[in-house]
């Protein structure tokens, strides 16, 4: 299952870099961390086109949940700005 290992390692590295970078830049808003991590997750899983159909559909389910949470966070941010 080397392709699964590669996917998990890629995600771990991407999340690690994003969190360290945002912390280093002094970011103090948890929604920003979540939005950037969610985008990284969606991009990386999209790049793994060679995954088998069962793995793809399983990850698509998780992508839908993360995307929904991403939309909620973005909407809340927009409402905050409009206020």
């Amino acid at each position: 299952m080397r392709i699964f290992n590669r996917l998990i390692i890629s995600l771990a590295i991407a999340f690690g870099i994003i969190n360290v970078l945002l912390a280093f830049l002094g970011q103090d808003d948890i929604s920003v961390y979540f939005i950037v991590n969610a985008i990284a997750y969606l991009i990386i899983t999209l790049l793994y086109v060679y995954l088998n159909p069962r793995a793809k559909s399983a990850l698509n389910g998780l992508s839908a949940i993360i995307f929904a949470a991403f939309l909620v966070v973005v909407t809340m941010e927009v409402i905050e700005i409009l206020k």
Binding site: M1, I8, Y33, F34
Partner: protein, 244 residues
């Protein structure tokens, strides 16, 4: 629960779910909370991937593959055929891609009729000795796993072979396909299955070469023969001859 992805998924998700509120409310640390959130996402991804693992173990699959290969090899040895197999597209074998091993050494491909009967021993030409053994190869079965048949160009053949070898079977890391008029050159990186000097591999090619030949034959809609197969430290170089 032996699935390591499920175990990793549960550990990461539970740890993340416990640590996130702790870091946010007690330690008031946003970066650490973000790490906990990332851990939840990573854990869920690992947990979801666990369900995509095959139901039967790789060892069981290997036994089944070996049993099938040894039966075919025994049949070929018994008849004394040592000719290279010709991989035929599905349209030439009653809608099911297979390979034929001609009994005669100098098989004239032009003699092959458009559609061969779906039997073990087939007559492909008008002469009495135009006989061949038709067998199902690992490549033939894998073609059913493709979402759509590949087109007749190097890019689509490469994508289809890569999808089967890397995504579905996980027996290689990457594929490169280069095509000329009558040849298809395929390089496979980090192949898990080594080449063996056995009768079966000589006639039908290794399972990796068999998959590449079956996919190329289906993509080009032409019979294909494995001309050469070289294996060195996980790297395969396969040359296919497109027969016209």
């Amino acid at each position: 629960m032996k699935n390591p992805y499920k175990i990793l998924g549960i550990i990461l998700s539970v740890a993340g779910a416990i640590m996130a509120p702790l870091f946010y409310f007690f330690f008031a640390s946003v970066p650490l909370t973000a790490v906990a959130l990332s851990s939840i996402i990573l854990g869920l991804a690992s947990f979801f991937l666990a369900s995509a693992r095959p139901y039967i173990s790789p060892e069981a699959s290997q036994i089944l593959l070996k049993a099938g290969m040894e039966n075919t090899a025994a049949l070929l040895e018994e008849i004394g055929i040592r000719n290279k197999a010709i991989y035929l597209p599905a349209k030439m074998r009653n809608g099911y891609p297979q390979a034929i091993i001609p009994v005669k050494e100098d098989c004239n491909i032009k003699k092959i009729r458009d559609k061969l009967p779906g039997r073990l021993i087939v007559r492909y030409g008008p002469d009495a000795d135009d006989m061949a053994i038709a067998v199902t190869t690992p490549g033939s079965i894998n073609l059913e796993m493709l979402e759509s048949p590949p087109g007749p160009n190097a890019y689509e053949i490469e994508a289809a072979i890569g999808y089967i070898l890397t995504g579905l079977l996980d027996i290689a890391d990457g594929v490169k396909v280069d095509m000329t008029e009558a040849r298809v050159n395929i390089d496979v990186r980090n192949a898990k299955m080594a080449y063996e000097e056995i009768w079966y591999y000589y006639c039908l090619g290794s399972p990796i070469a068999s998959i590449t030949a079956a996919v190329s034959s289906e993509a080009l809609q032409k019979p294909v023969r494995i001309l050469e197969e070289k294996y060195h430290k996980g790297k395969y170089h396969i040359t296919l001859e497109v027969l016209t």
